[in-house]
Point group: C2
Chain length 236, copies 2
DNA sequence: GGCCGGTTTTGCGCTATCGCAAATTGCGGG
DNA sequence: CCCGCAATTTGCGATAGCGCAAAACCGGCC
């Protein structure tokens, strides 16, 4: 089993409050794996045999309806956990995880979780914290979907992605993993057509620069204004 | 401080896996209080000084935007916890909790949480479980808002409420706390007008019987059909 | 360097749903 | 038993955004 360098992960929220030995012991239970771009890490409905910590790359978690429509639940950034089905007592994954970039993950068997938690209660506390934060974010998303129009929702999502995974360029902030119009549509509850129209509009105003699976926010500040505009405050 | 009967709460998920003494010790830290119908238990943005367990009644948790729009996050049923801001490391409540019926709650000071969790790690594990479940439900809600039309969403919400807090009558299932069209609108991301139109329609088809803050599902089975109908499967 | 397939753009009609306004109803209190 | 208020119903435009279809584009691969 590959040895994982503790110094690389010691600072992560998941491990906060753990002694170095404890961390060592926890990491000994994990293996690491690499998933090339566009490969599935697990599928919705499959047995939740493992849970994951993303080390490098980016992972998209998406949920599919019986009729085939999809929504993107979130993009996982390095340092975050995913596939925590056991956290909710589920035996199957509630979503599909796909590497959108070449990605490296740590993998623990789900079966190890109860033992780990018993030995290191902070793990549960830390996980509670992150799950709680995600719940919070979910509620914010619901609030936005309920009260804002599509353009504002798209603005918010892009700003959020930029904050989470933005790479500073001189021309602006680039979202540093491949993301399609369709993906954005699935994060905002709209269609790729509408997203395309919105981005085209922004592009012609110089707010963004975008191409195939690539988006650069050139005027983040002006996009913030769009995001916060109330439905009635007029635009030109 | 009022003594709380452990036998009434021992079976709740929050306390699963705890010894009777432990439960006793935990309950000793709580006080109980009664909130009459339509009184606020805590307000969004206020310091999260306490967390709660609902014993009797029903509580609505709602989130308000800066511009005043509201959504209903959830209805709390007896036996459930709420106001767990500490679970996400927040120092303020992210939503407002209001008793929609005369309600009785147990109240712990938020400051007691870290000590309780340290002494009884199962508390964290159990809370993780419930928060995880709520996250799951949130995602389902987002999925529905993204992929279904209003009528289906209303159908789903009513069925869910009926399952959670339905009282069986011979005429059907009654949602056993006061709920307005506006509330349903705020749970489904629409307006009270649209909800009213939908319920009127259902009423004339004999699917429901509804009045002021009162809804009875007369034909739950047919409503399930509505909820699951795909956008294109035609209706008469 | 040209071809192929997935992605994006864009036009155009359509409709589900909103928003406003006004009428109506039903409950709780006095 | 009646009044007053809040909840509900309903009509009628207005419209944001969808859905379909076709064209343009882009990048990578052979």
């Amino acid at each position: 089993m590959a040895k994982v360098d503790t110094s690389l992960v010691a600072h992560l929220p998941l491990f906060s409050g753990l002694a170095p030995d404890a961390l060592d012991e926890i990491l000994r239970e994990a293996r690491s794996a690499r998933y090339p771009k566009n490969t599935a890490i697990f599928e919705q409905g499959a047995d939740a045999l493992s849970f994951f910590l993303l080390l490098h790359g980016h992972v998209r978690a998406a949920k599919t309806t019986p009729t085939g429509e999809q929504i993107v639940v979130r993009y996982v950034a390095p340092g975050e956990t995913f596939g925590l089905a056991m956290a909710i007592g589920a035996s199957r994954y509630p979503a599909t995880a796909m590497a959108v970039d070449d990605s490296v993950v740590l993998i623990w068997p789900t079966s190890a979780w109860p033992r780990l938690v018993e030995r290191f209660p902070s793990l549960a506390a830390n996980t509670l914290q992150t799950v709680g934060t995600r719940l919070q974010e979910s509620h914010t998303r619901i609030l936005e979907m309920s009260t804002q129009q599509v353009e504002q929702r798209v603005a918010h999502v892009l700003l959020r992605l930029a904050k989470q995974s933005g790479k500073k360029l001189d021309r602006g902030i680039e979202i540093d993993f491949p993301i399609s119009r369709q993906d954005i549509a699935q994060m905002t509850g709209t269609t790729l057509h509408t997203v395309s129209r919105i981005l085209s509009g922004w592009e012609s105003q110089g707010l963004v620069e975008s191409g195939r699976q690539r988006i650069i926010l050139r005027e983040p500040h002006k996009i913030v204004v769009l995001a916060e505009r109330t439905p009635d405050s007029g635009a030109a």
